[in-house]
Symmetry: C2
Subunit: 382 residues, 2 copies
């Protein structure tokens, strides 16, 4: 048996939890925080709630919100300047995966210096980071608990995956009420991202019993609550379960890492301004078909987590049922179905395949992969 | 919905993991560690393995092993002196629950001063503790991941339960190989303690979805692997699964707290030099019978975790099957069955019941309890 490692931040979960952000920063010794967010979160009113809590805790604060989807190296550099100019000593991230990943990337630079490109890959961070409190508002990225930050290299037109235990925030505050302002479209996209995290981490070469229990629960919760969550902004039960699914999928993939879906999705997301969850959900069934051979038993398990009755089926047959289910769910909630639908140019595939081949997430994919294999999967999903 | 909090240490799990203790201390900035252990662990050879790893990491170290079962305030004070005299800056605990709880209690005193009695109850610790790395060798206490330390008040002849997030170690190192030196008797006792942790935390008033997944897995693993683990010292599969069960039960109860079994067990263990797991396993079915009314659905769930087919049964009927199963398992592995067998004097029951009533673990018991109710449960189990 290999030696398993499992790390997670302190988690505060529940409706109204966001009001604890000020006190949480105080506990970490913060006096002057940089709050990283984005315009959508500000418009939804969640930044105001966080700011109010910081004021009540007598914290100084500065807001930085120049963050776009698939966040970029230049945004990280800007945020880093703002942190230093305002002499901040802690960071809050509030929003979807983008503000959270930018917040973490800023945390790297302010104590480690250099450019964010220097930290691409695994375990490149040397100095401890400032205290970090993360508040996800999309039930998708899992960034609030993960050792990942994914930032676009603007010149290279690719996503850089940075993996380090230092990137695990100190405290993750998960408030299901923040999900009530999300559109059906975004709920579908981020929810399928959660499913992708659950499935990729469950079949990952680095999966352990500790990550399996989290992945299993996340997959089951998505299969039960993603549809009602897409259908209604105010279904509190569905929002709470999807927030929990996102958290558990985040704990799973932070410790088990991911696979080919994310490696390929990072390649596409580095160039196209498309929702990360959309690229993932398009690729997921095609990568599952490719990976099925590597671990039929685990794909059969996934079928049961999805609520499929697999009695009488072989592992391969059960795994195929799981793949059909994923395709069906994606169609039911109106997610895009093909890479051509989201604007990918077909002649980009060979180049994207090379980038995906070198992504850090490919290392734990359960089936061996060549550049040609990736091209073939891309073509099927195009 | 209430707001849930969940905290755990970094976990390193696997055969040979103990060899990472030196490097783990280095990562926490330690230079000079106090190693808290007990004579049984030393005899089994595990202290030597830990010491070797510390030497390889060029750490200074001092060994303290004056620890007994149901560890005492006076042992904590002795260890505290040793820490200060040797100018230590970090603590390793290696052994069963006793050395681990003493190590944590020493950590409290060396940075917070006073007597260990000052910290009884919830959240009494003010100053941060020194770095703590814990290595359990019994697959029982869960102390390596919990926010608990339980120490005997020698004069008061009772156990003091200290609960604080500060008591969660920095790193927990769980090495299933350490279980290969345990007697069948100790394996049975600590394994039933794990079952008690799983069941009490699952029905606790403070249970959350995050603790439920851990409790569920722990209960299932015990039902499958405790018998083979008692039967064979060298069954590696059984040892690994019991180590995981202990870890997951520890994560569950650290965050969901416990109930009447532990409250009552602490009262008995404060006076009688009896294995904690034995007292728990005797009390467990009687407390389950008492608590069944409070949450029939959860007890029916527990029946399914134990592998019982509950089709066609009401929740109450299914819950009763779970109770029968627990009694049966305890008999099969030759655990003591009655409090009179372990020497409890019947006329102590009223006094013990008052102590149990005031134990911090009673707060989260799912059914209301009076001193008279506790007396009645004690009498049934006597």
């Amino acid at each position: 048996m290999n030696i398993h490692k499992f790390v997670m931040p302190e988690v505060i979960f529940g409706n109204g939890a966001i009001e604890q952000v000020g006190e949480s920063c105080l506990r970490l010794g913060a006096t002057n925080v940089l709050i990283v967010s984005d315009p959508g979160v500000i418009e939804a009113g969640w930044l105001d709630v966080a700011v109010k809590s910081c004021k009540q805790a007598n914290l100084k604060y500065t807001i930085f919100h120049d963050v776009t989807i698939n966040p970029k190296d230049i945004e990280v550099e800007k945020g880093c300047k703002v942190y230093i100019e305002n002499e901040c000593d802690a960071i809050i991230g509030i929003g979807g995966g983008s503000p959270l990943d930018v917040a973490k990337a800023i945390a790297i630079l302010v104590t480690n210096g250099g450019k964010i490109h220097d930290y691409e890959g695994v375990d490149k961070i040397r100095n401890p980071l400032p205290p970090q409190v993360m508040i996800p508002t999309t039930a998708g990225s899992g960034s609030e608990v993960s050792q990942f930050s994914v930032i676009v290299d603007t010149l290279g037109q690719k996503k850089m995956t940075i993996i380090s235990k230092s990137l695990i925030p100190d405290i993750a505050i998960i408030d299901p009420e923040t999900l009530s302002t999300k559109s059906a479209r975004l709920t579908a996209s981020t929810g399928l991202d959660v499913l992708t995290h659950g499935i990729e981490s469950y079949v990952s070469l680095a999966a352990t019993p500790l990550t399996d229990v989290q992945a299993k629960n996340a997959i089951s919760l998505v299969s039960e609550y993603l549809r009602p969550s897409v259908a209604s902004k105010i279904n509190k039960e569905a929002k709470t379960h999807m927030a929990m699914a996102s958290l558990q999928a985040g704990l799973a993939f932070s410790n088990a890492i991911l696979g080919a879906v994310h490696a390929m999705s990072h390649a596409v997301g580095g160039k196209y301004p498309v929702l990360h969850g959309d690229i993932n959900s398009i690729l997921l069934p095609y990568v599952m078909e490719y990976n099925l051979l590597a671990t039929p038993k685990k794909f059969a398990d996934i079928a049961t987590f999805l609520g499929i009755d697999i009695r009488g089926l072989s592992y391969m047959e059960a795994g195929k049922k799981a793949i059909e289910y994923v395709k069906q769910l994606s169609m039911e909630i109106d997610a895009p179905q093909r890479l051509s639908d989201i604007g990918l140019e077909k002649d980009e595939i060979p180049h994207m395949s090379v980038i995906a081949f070198h992504d850090a997430c490919m290392i734990t994919n359960p089936r061996d992969v060549t550049v040609e294999d990736i091209e073939e999967i891309f073509r099927r999903a195009w």
